[in-house]
């Protein structure tokens, strides 16, 4: 678990494109027990972390992190003066804004409050890189819409889009003039791999083929034999007799 967090922090910092050889002042949203913060410190930057969980912050105290910690709810706004931070990262936290924990919570409003106050707290031209786990495309769209409303430009960088395990989403937001979005990582070295987010609810493309077939019909039998061939099983070859009507005693 620790290693993944550190890797994601490393990637987020990479995407942040901070000026080289210069210590920056960063905001870590959902800093938790300070794993990401430790990496930021190691890279020579200074940071302030916010988290909503006293237990996680306690763990951060035990680990003696270098950044200042705040107990706060990002959905209530980032309580800092305009132009406080040179950049912002977040690891696995922002998707929580989409949960309505109390009846009074409206996710869209909390998201907007978060993004607009974050926009203000950043130095003009600074970036925010937010690694998150969106539940589905609707949720991701909700998040990006509110970020855009708040004044951010940018997009989603997807690393390893073809791997269910390794796939990671980084919401890269720019508070100044638009720059080009960095490319997402892939297993192969192909430069043509798409980094655009293609979110489909397609999970079983073969299921559609089966839906319209009448059971036990010739088409159904042929489709079933094809399926078993795809599964690598031994199947008799299709002939003119495949799926023919048999005598009732069958």
């Amino acid at each position: 678990m620790i290693d993944i967090q550190t890797k994601m922090t490393e990637r987020a910092l990479e995407l942040l494109c901070l000026p080289e050889g210069q210590p920056s002042f960063l905001l870590d949203i959902g800093c938790g027990s300070g794993l990401s913060g430790d990496y930021i410190s190691e890279e020579g930057h200074y940071w302030v972390g916010i988290d909503i969980s006293p237990a996680m912050l306690d763990a951060a105290l035990d680990r003696d992190t270098e950044g200042d910690l705040l107990l706060g709810d990002m959905g209530q706004g980032i309580p800092f003066r305009p132009g406080s931070f040179d950049g912002c990262i977040s690891i696995s936290a922002v998707q929580w804004l989409c949960n309505a924990n109390k009846k009074s919570d409206v996710p869209a409003r909390r998201l907007y409050c978060f993004f607009s106050s974050l926009y203000s707290a950043l130095v003009h031209g600074a970036r925010a890189v937010l690694q998150l786990y969106p539940e589905n495309s609707e949720q991701l769209e909700l998040i990006t819409t509110q970020a855009t409303r708040a004044g951010f430009t940018g997009g989603v960088v997807v690393d390893f889009p073809n791997s269910a395990k390794a796939k990671k989403f980084y919401l890269c937001l720019f508070s100044g003039p638009s720059t080009s979005l960095p490319k997402g990582l892939t297993e192969s070295q192909d430069a043509d791999q798409a980094t655009e987010l293609t979110f489909t609810s397609e999970r079983a493309p073969h299921k559609k083929a089966r839906r319209d077939l009448v059971k036990k019909s010739r088409e159904w039998v042929l489709e079933k034999k094809e399926r078993r061939r795809r599964q690598g099983k031994e199947v008799r070859p299709d002939t003119q007799y495949t799926g023919r009507k048999r005598k009732p005693r069958f």
Binding site: F25, I50, L57, L61, D68, G77, P79, F80, R81, S117
Partner: protein, 143 residues
């Protein structure tokens, strides 16, 4: 009837974080309706600790333009700190004496226990073990 004795071991010193004066200088109240009048938060400290931090002149120099001097001077005053510059000297980027003083004030003075008060609404944010509690209740949030 046997009486039950409970033993509670309290560690001598609980690990605590820090709220640096740099952070205090940037914090602003986000209570509903307060806006820019939420700065600066009035600092009151009951426990302060000096915590040496490695001097990084580059970083200190980069933070100087962000500092709100009136708020810093006031906070330093509350904590009875001596030798606090009231404003940046000319050519401060190369003035090591100045940068070292600012480094000490901004990064080495930790507030462990105290309160931060919103100047507009009067709302108190407690600081416990170096961590300010900025959680608002429903009526106070903008949403």
């Amino acid at each position: 009837m046997r009486s039950v004795r409970s033993f509670r071991f309290r560690p001598r010193e609980l690990p605590s974080g820090n709220m640096k004066l740099l952070t205090h200088n940037l914090l602003s109240s986000h209570v509903r309706g307060v806006g820019t009048r939420g700065f600066p938060l009035r600092l009151q400290a009951t426990e302060v600790r000096i915590n040496p931090v490695e001097f990084n002149p580059d970083f200190v120099a980069r933070m100087i333009p962000k500092v709100e001097w009136a708020a810093l001077v006031q906070a330093a005053d509350t904590l009875n700190l001596a030798e606090v510059p009231k404003e940046p000297t000319e050519g401060y980027e190369h003035d090591e004496t100045f940068l070292r003083k600012m480094h000490h004030v901004l990064l080495e003075v930790d507030v462990l226990e105290g309160t931060l008060q919103c100047p507009e609404s009067g709302r108190l944010f407690p600081i416990s073990r170096g961590i300010p509690n900025m959680l608002l209740n429903d009526e106070e949030t903008e949403t």
